[in-house]
Amino acid sequence: MLSDSRQHTLNLAALTVSVAVFGATAACTIDNVGLLAAYQTHADGAVVIDVYSVGGDLRTSGGDAGLSAGAVRRSYVFSSDGVPPADDGWHFLTYPLPPSDPVALNATVIGLDVRAAAPEPGITLGYRATTVLARVAADQSVTQELAYWPDDPKRTRLRICKEPALC
């Protein structure tokens, strides 16, 4: 038989856990808006944005389209051209999107992950880590070098050569 105060503490703990679980599952992120925290880092020729979210996460952009539910960490590598260093640091609920498409991305999901983007649309229940280092249209001529450590964004190095004769 538990005392009243002990029973009250247990009820409070159960309520806290319930609210946390409900909040996590009911929370929603759509693209760069929602219950998220993002950290932007300037590196050598690149800008890395790490995005953390819990709950539902819907992405509508072509190369990253899909839906996740659970704990999600997404990391995007952009060219640093046109991205002000003043935007570096933490952003909450939304984050500024650089003007160009990401050069590379890394996504880690624990939970349910539905991926709609080519080359392999699919569904995962459990843990999934996906890295896309290049996505180039069939008629495009590009030259790039990327060194990328998803857990150490400051080491990222991106070089894009626009004129092969000069590189």
């Binding site: 392999e120 890295t131 280092l133 001529s141 990327l146």
Partner: protein, 128 residues
Amino acid sequence: MLRVGSILGLLAIVVALAGCEASQLYVGADTVIGVNAGVNTERTAGHFIFGYDRNFATVIPKSVPGVKDNPDPNAREAMSALSCSKVTTDGIFLTGFKESLATGGAADAYARKIQQGQPTTMFSCFKQ
């Protein structure tokens, strides 16, 4: 019931987006622990995984218009690509990537430069 319907609707939209994807070259890696099912749109092949799987791959479009030295305007060939990848692992996880890539005309130009021994500031992996 309404919530289940909404989720199914969202799933349908997400899956439908896959059909809009243009033919592209991909370099990427995938690590799965759990249950995974997927379809490869390039090869129209599917897979089902239960447990652990990891892969690193380059997917190259097989049919690109404009074949060099071929007057036929409908002629097609595989996309030109010159690629060099270095992957760092920590246990079962992929932790670091170094990728050098040239595609299309740039790939042809770099292949010629390397073959002729001309200096380049890219593709250090091909230097002897």
